[in-house]
């Protein structure tokens, strides 16, 4: 897919601390650098990882370096590791042209478990996202990750989805290379499988 | 059981725990992770959020509806305002002198519990066990030896009922309980409760006459008095003695009651029930007769067990002299009168009795 008219592609990977947000955005960003893009990645570390909401902004451009945070309403692609976080991010950064890939598996906040808040029905959340964006693809990434060997690899599955979707002008091959290098010493086959399952799945599935 | 509105842990905290009314009976502890028993007080770690719960329903200071409880236990309302519902009152003691020597007075409780266990009336009994004769802990006894280890009065409060709930889970058959008035009242409330299922297992309730108990703060005081010496027995002789007696191996220590009055649990001051009116059998002293117990038989179940024990020769009965009986009734009424007239309204709000009875007692 070509870069948007502005010559800039804003992707936000969103989820809960501990879901592997940072690794996913690093893989995507490294691949983009390899393909010759200017890349900026903005993240929140530290306290947010203790179960808080985490967003990684990955901004690609052919011409110049941009600041690391996407302005309001300017995300082109949102990859949600968790449905409520996905909706939260869409609310702040989405627009009617945004494309979304989401893993519908909830991670319950302590506020919900304590009874202070209610967790909405996932269908309602996906419906709300659909109202706000151009297209939404739902991928059971945790289930696919289990197939690959460990549910914790859902982030790699989602990177595969991003790769296979064609939403970003980064080559699938480049992303695959980076995945291989990243996990060279940590279950390389399983992670590669997770990536490939993601690529396959997004191509097979229609948007909601 | 009644039209009582059962409440929850927040109300328990407000009405009982924060009001200094907790008698450490143990009924609300061991039910859930939110309430612990700490040194003679029940402590609410955090309200559980339920508006209705067992802790409040079992608590003998949250609410005691005397008419309802009478109907539940005895089938009808009491006629005897001094002693509560009863079938007979007598003197009794354990036949074996060995039983009596390890007991406080006549050994009737030890003998009755042992009899009930050995005849299979109950499979286990929840008792208060003391290692050092000063403080005690609840325990589940299943045989004669274990029962005898629990003989003797305990003056520092022991949260016996905490172990009753545990016993209903552990013990397959019937359970017996020996406890003070508030404790037996709590167990009756457990049996009557809509919230509790396993209470069906509770078979025999033996109640001890009770006027007051010390908080665990008394432990340090007594230990300091006694030093490392072994305590054989602690006793409060009848008035007009006004002393508290500690018998060690070596000597007899007498302490004026005034010195230890500060350790009495405040909750005891609002207790209406000297003779343990909801038990199957209530057992107390015979003033001046160290070797005998006063026994009040209240229910059919109690009567059956006591008679059985008498028949096999484990218990030796004797009629109770009239003046002793009058003295007992007078003592009980005096206490009720005092509680009804001298206690702050909010501290006695837990107790529901018929207006006409209140009037009769007071005048």
């Amino acid at each position: 897919m070509k870069l948007e008219k502005e010559g800039l592609l804003n992707t936000i990977i969103t989820g809960v601390g501990g879901q592997g947000n940072v690794v996913a955005s690093q893989i995507f960003a490294s691949a983009a650098v390899r393909d010759g893009f200017y890349v900026s990645v903005g993240e929140t570390y530290g306290a947010a990882q203790r179960g808080g909401a985490v967003m990684s902004h990955v901004r690609l451009s052919r011409e110049t370096q941009y600041g690391s945070l996407t302005p309001e309403g300017r995300a082109h692609v949102i990859v949600g590791f968790e449905p409520v976080e996905c909706l939260r991010t869409v609310g702040g950064f989405g627009n009617k042209k945004t494309r979304v890939i989401v893993n519908p598996r909830p991670v319950y906040p302590i506020d919900v478990l304590s009874g202070a808040s209610k967790y909405p029905a996932v269908e309602e959340v996906l419906k709300a996202i659909k109202e706000l964006v151009y297209s939404i693809h739902m991928v059971e990434a945790t289930e696919l990750a289990k197939k690959a060997g460990d549910p914790i690899m859902q982030n790699v599955v989602m990177v595969g989805c991003l790769a296979g979707s064609g939403f970003a002008p980064v080559k699938v091959e480049t992303l695959k290379e980076v995945v291989k290098e990243t996990f060279a010493k940590k279950r390389p086959e399983a992670n590669l499988k997770a990536f490939e399952l993601g690529v396959e799945q997004i191509r097979r599935k229609k948007p909601l | 059981m009644s039209s009582i509105v059962v409440k929850g842990s927040r109300d328990l905290q407000k009405n009982v725990l924060a009001n200094g009314l907790c008698s450490a009976c143990g009924a609300c502890t061991n039910l859930c992770p939110y309430i612990d028993m700490v040194r003679g007080r029940a402590v609410l770690i955090e309200p559980c959020g339920l508006s209705e719960g067992k802790c409040y329903d079992f608590c003998p200071r949250a609410y005691v509806d005397v008419p309802s409880l009478d109907r539940f236990v005895f089938g009808s309302y009491r006629r005897d305002l001094a002693l509560g519902s009863n079938i007979s009152v007598m003197k009794a003691r354990a036949k074996e002198s060995e039983v009596r020597s390890s007991a406080q007075y006549g050994g009737a409780v030890s003998a009755l519990v042992t009899y009930a266990l050995e005849t299979g009336e109950i499979d286990a009994a929840v008792l208060a066990k003391s290692q050092d004769r000063i403080s005690a802990e609840p325990t589940i006894a299943r045989n004669r030896k274990e029962v005898f280890e629990c003989a003797g009065s305990k003056y520092i409060v022991c949260p016996t009922v905490a172990e009753v709930f545990e016993a209903t889970k552990q013990v397959k058959g019937k359970i017996g309980v020996v406890g003070t008035s508030c404790q037996i009242t709590a167990v009756r409330k457990m049996q009557a409760s809509n919230l509790e299922v396993e209470a069906d297992k509770i078979g025999l309730l033996i109640g001890l006459f009770c006027t007051w108990a010390f908080s665990p703060d008394a432990y340090g005081y007594i230990r300091d008095l006694v030093g490392p010496a072994k305590v054989m027995k602690i006793d409060v002789p009848p008035p007009p003695a006004n002393i508290f007696v500690i018998q060690t191996e070596a000597k007899r220590i007498e302490v004026p009651l005034d010195k230890v009055r500060k350790f009495v649990m405040p909750a005891c001051n609002v207790c209406f029930d000297m003779t343990n009116e909801f038990a199957d059998i209530s057992v107390g002293t015979v003033e001046g007769k160290e070797d005998w117990n006063t026994v009040i038989v209240r229910t059919k179940e109690g009567e059956k067990i006591l008679q059985g024990a008498i028949d096999v020769g484990v218990i030796e009965p004797k009629p109770l002299e009239k003046d002793r009986l009058n003295h007992l009734c007078e003592a009980s009424l005096t206490r009720k009168r005092r509680v009804l007239t001298e206690t702050e309204a909010e501290k006695i709000a837990y107790l529901t009795i018929r207006e006409e009875d209140k009037f009769k007692i007071v005048s």
Partner: protein
């Protein structure tokens, strides 16, 4: 994965800002590095430690920031190149030395890198450390991009060495933790040798000597300023001699650029971007103030440039500067969620400032979108508070403290400190701790609370600190408590790591920054030497922990409880036990439980099955620690070890 230490000059790599700073130090040939873990600066030293394993230079985590600065300062005084990195609040801790080593000077390049945290994402203060440069009279550099983070750090060493004074490089979260493309430079392989003779004097002096050194420091600053006038880190873009200019530094540069672009103002406004922000390159700034009629300051967090340049403008009034309409924090145009002078910058903040000033109109997306989104979020998006990780021993520790305090019944005062366990103030920690300030303030303030009996405050006082915090800041306060008779119970949460900042080692872990083994200095030994009553428990043994805490609370004097249990993230188990809930035994919402594990205990591994009305375990989040199995009142949670 990143290759910040590779020897390939000219290569383009994606680096985190902190890695770029580390790279800059390597390119400058740094010899001696020190610091203390702190967000957002922790990765600087971690990266340098990784490089030091392969090359031969010194990297250490120091016990706190002042020792870190002192130890590096000494190295620099011998002619070595030294770098100290810390978070913003670390500057407060080392301020005493900064305010004297600026005067005593340096021989080798000496660079202090401070990482600020606008919006306080992971800190307890938005402190803007640029103010320290002004206070200390030392040169200040502010990188605006990842590339500058590298280049400025490298240059800072040369600058420092030439001037003979420590130089500050100030970064923020969005530079430190963001990643950008960096073109690498050559690595410096020169090995310097350290020289310091017994004849050397290295002091800030006092009385006349200090005043003399102070004056010399001012001279150095003047020379710095001259260099700054020509610095390639300062530039002006946009309309020549524009009436309206934006003056910016740090992250403000790229945000302003993008804002101007989005508003179509490229040909109307000018942007003066400064990288050398103290001392101000006055001539350069003056040249632009002369043509400006309106100036918008875009910086974070304090109005540092804004105030200093207003002073400059006032000074230049007689030379034809002004009158200028100034916009920024004072005018409330540049503001965060809670107002001006607080909160981080982003493109939208700058856009809003420009549109409010009236420069342009702007719609970020389709009309009505934001309102619609807000409504949907209100209906469907619950808050997501922070919480302890699954398997975290702090959860057990705080529950034990809560119980013991309730058992005690005297309304104990609990003071908190800095670390993962700061979350003890939140529901995840059962809202047990009630105070939070800076490193060591827990036991520091407890000293006071525990000594107010004569004023009628006679409650038990419990101070909490972590293991790393203990070595950093708690020891003096513990001594003080003993010495001045304060009645406190000090609970040290020892999880064998510095967790919140990324699991760095500390003096109790037996390992140093390079991962080599080092002497273990035991917390209990120090506490016993001070004369405290010390007990050690595993918080996972809840019954014992509560009992021991309760007993300690009944005693007088200084008591220490060490809750010792390793952080599960720092020391992950080989095989995770399988934990599940026996659905038949689970009491759920019934009296006797009322969802104790999910509603109260709050481990993210304990979740609720709304359909069945029972608890269950989230196998992805669950850590296999088995703590919930211990606290379940029905014994319904089963732990199956996996062999």
């Amino acid at each position: 994965m990143s290759h910040f230490e590779i020897d390939e000059p000219g290569k383009r790599v994606l680096l985190m800002g902190n890695e770029a700073i580390a790279r800059g130090a390597l390119e400058a040939g740094v010899d001696f590095c020190s610091g203390y873990p702190g967000n957002p600066a922790s990765e600087i030293l971690e990266a340098l430690a990784r490089a030091a394993k392969k090359s031969d230079f010194h990297v250490e985590w120091s016990v706190n920031e002042i020792v870190a600065l002192e130890t590096a300062g000494a190295a620099a005084s011998t002619g070595l190149r030294a770098l100290t990195a810390m978070k913003n609040l670390g500057a407060d801790v080392c301020a005493d030395f900064l305010m004297t080593v600026n005067l005593s000077g340096t021989r080798g390049g000496f660079v202090l890198v401070t990482g600020d945290d606008p919006s306080a994402h992971s800190t307890t203060s938005e402190l803007d450390t640029r103010n320290y440069a002004r206070l200390a009279d030392v040169p200040l550099l502010e990188p605006a991009t990842t590339q500058e983070a590298k280049d400025m750090t490298k240059w800072a060493f040369d600058l420092s060495q030439e001037l003979g004074v420590i130089c500050m490089v100030r970064t923020v979260t969005r530079i430190s933790h963001s990643r950008g493309v960096v073109t690498l430079g050559p690595l410096d392989r020169d090995k310097r040798s350290a020289e310091f003779s017994s004849q050397d004097l290295w002091t800030s002096g006092s009385s006349t000597i200090e005043c003399m050194f102070h004056s010399i420091l001012h001279e150095k600053l003047k020379r710095a300023q001259e260099k700054f006038e020509e610095s390639k880190f300062n530039w002006y873009v946009g309309k020549e001699n524009a009436d309206f200019i934006i003056i910016t530094s740090g992250t403000g540069w790229l945000y302003s650029l993008e804002a101007v672009k989005l508003l179509g103002l490229e040909n109307e406004v000018g942007i003066l971007k400064l990288g050398t922000t103290w001392p101000l390159p006055e001539k350069l700034v003056a040249s632009h103030l002369k043509h400006a009629k309106e100036v918008l300051f875009v910086e974070e967090t304090d109005p540092f440039l804004e105030q200093n340049m207003k002073i400059l403008a006032a000074e230049l009034a007689s030379e034809g500067v002004g009158p200028i309409r100034f916009y920024g924090k004072k005018s409330n145009h540049v503001r965060g969620e809670f107002g001006a002078g607080t909160g981080e910058l982003n493109v939208d903040v700058v856009i809003r400032a420009l549109t409010e000033i009236g420069k342009a109109a702007y719609l970020s997306r389709e009309k009505g979108y934001s309102e619609k989104a807000e409504k949907l979020l209100g209906s469907y998006v619950p808050a997501r508070s922070m919480g302890f990780c699954a398997g975290c021993p702090h959860r057990a520790s705080f529950w034990a403290i809560k119980k013991a305090a309730k058992w005690d019944g005297r309304d104990a005062i609990v003071t908190g400190d800095i670390g993962c366990y700061s979350l003890g103030m939140l529901p995840t920690g059962f809202s047990v701790s009630k105070t939070l300030h800076c490193m060591g303030a827990g036991i520091g303030t407890a000293n006071g609370f525990g000594n107010l009996r004569e004023f009628g405050l006679d409650k038990p006082v419990i101070a909490i600190a972590g293991d790393s915090t203990f070595y950093h800041a708690c020891m003096p306060a513990l001594v003080n408590a003993r010495w001045n008779g304060s009645n406190i119970l000090f609970v040290v949460l020892d999880n064998n790591t510095t967790a919140m900042t990324g699991h760095q080692p500390h003096p109790g872990t037996g390992v140093n920054a390079l991962g080599d083994s080092s002497p273990r200095i035991l917390i209990e030994d120090i506490c016993e030497a001070i004369g405290a009553e010390v007990r050690i428990c595993d918080p996972f043994d809840l019954e014992k922990s509560v009992q021991n805490l309760y007993e300690l609370l009944q005693n007088e004097g200084v008591k220490v409880m060490i809750f010792r249990h390793e952080c599960p993230l720092a020391f992950p188990k080989e095989k995770k036990a399988r934990v599940y809930v026996d659905q038949d035994k689970c009491l759920g919402e019934e009296c006797g439980c009322v969802k104790f594990c999910t509603r109260v205990f709050g481990c993210p591994g304990n979740i609720w099955d709304y359909e069945k009305g029972k608890a269950k375990i989230d196998e992805v989040m669950c850590n296999g620690c088995g703590l919930c199995a211990k606290i379940c009142p029905a014994g319904a949670i089963i732990v199956e070890e996996v062999t």
